[in-house]
Symmetry: C2
Subunit: 172 residues, 2 copies
DNA sequence: ATCTATTTGCAAGTCATTTGCAATAACAAC
DNA sequence: GTTGTTATTGCAAATGACTTGCAAATAGAT
């Protein structure tokens, strides 16, 4: 059985951890399982809150340390979400299919988006630059369809964020 | 003359600022001109250091406040650079052509990359979701061609960051 | 020159994240 | 199962990026 399949069956972690001299602690399993099960993107504080439901003694620093490990193992991805919600980061278990994160600057909604062009970027980079891509983070800010309807085509003011469409720098 | 052209001739700022009730202070011009002239991505501290060469009295908080304004005006973009260099952000004047930022996890090098697929993503999002894109941040981590050569095809260890290629989760 | 609202500098505060360290626990070897 | 080694944890303290409050300064309109 290919290594990667086996790793997946064990929760994606066991084999990876062993190969690195890492230990599969109760806390590490728990944190990863929380991210695997999560329906939204969680920040470090939210992960702690969820983890303490199962392990009341777990500490915030353990969350941070394990997030670092899980990122290194490429089983967890870190998102910035364009600092829409403060200066913290958000985390999600890595999906089979990569996706980008789109944030509405008006209502704050964040949704995931996939288009084949995303893969094309990685391929272009590998082909043109010989770069080996480990992870790709695509975060897009703008105005969602609903907010555009509410405010006419050009989203007028968001908490004083008035940027007339006509003078936004063009992007080629 | 179209507004956007005129805004560009005036440093991109004057017209935009006026329309928003913003004032073109000495400090604001300086900060923007520093980013316009910069050959690399600068963090808030570096921008302060550079600004103080011309205006010794300028304060760090003025840098932060103006970066917020310039981001809102869409004339400056904020980068995360995948936290390769700590937990700060980096800034650059918005270019005519958008580009992505690629960071080597081995040598720390950061370079810019453009491929038409980037624009395709925005278009797909606008077409499929009716989303109006204001800015797109694409950050990619991996191993550059040079580092790959040095260490064979699979980059071995970076400060204890050993992740065997064979067990990396596949991405479709 | 005058007026008014925006912006600045300074000081203090916030809070996400990191670090030091002794105690605990994985897990490999016996 | 017992033992030994070393990664990991929890707690406390520190770090540092960024924000906020406020009075003084000043951009820009009249
Ligand atoms: Mn960030
Ligand atoms: Mn750039
Ligand atoms: Zn919206
Ligand atoms: Zn490199």
């Amino acid at each position: 059985m290919p290594l990667i399949r086996q790793a997946r069956r064990q929760g994606g972690l066991a084999l990876l951890a062993k190969q690195q001299g890492l230990r599969l602690t109760r806390q590490r399993r728990l944190i990863y399982s929380i991210l695997e099960a999560a329906q939204t993107h969680l920040n470090a504080k939210q992960i702690l809150a969820e983890a303490q439901k199962f392990d009341p003694g777990i500490d915030q620093v353990t969350i941070y340390r394990n997030l670092a490990v899980l990122k290194r193992l490429r089983v967890v991805d870190e998102l910035d979400l364009l600092h829409l919600k403060g200066d913290q980061h958000y985390y999600e278990a890595r999906q089979v299919r990569a996706h980008s994160h789109v944030a509405c600057l008006s209502c704050g909604k964040v949704f995931e988006f996939y288009t084949p062009a995303m893969k094309t970027i990685d391929q272009a980079l590998e082909k043109e630059c010989g770069f080996e891509v480990s992870f790709t983070r695509i975060e897009i800010g703008g105005y969602c369809a609903e907010c555009r309807k509410k405010r006419g085509v050009s989203p007028a003011s968001l908490k004083g964020h008035k940027v007339p469409r006509s003078v936004e720098p063009e992007r080629i």
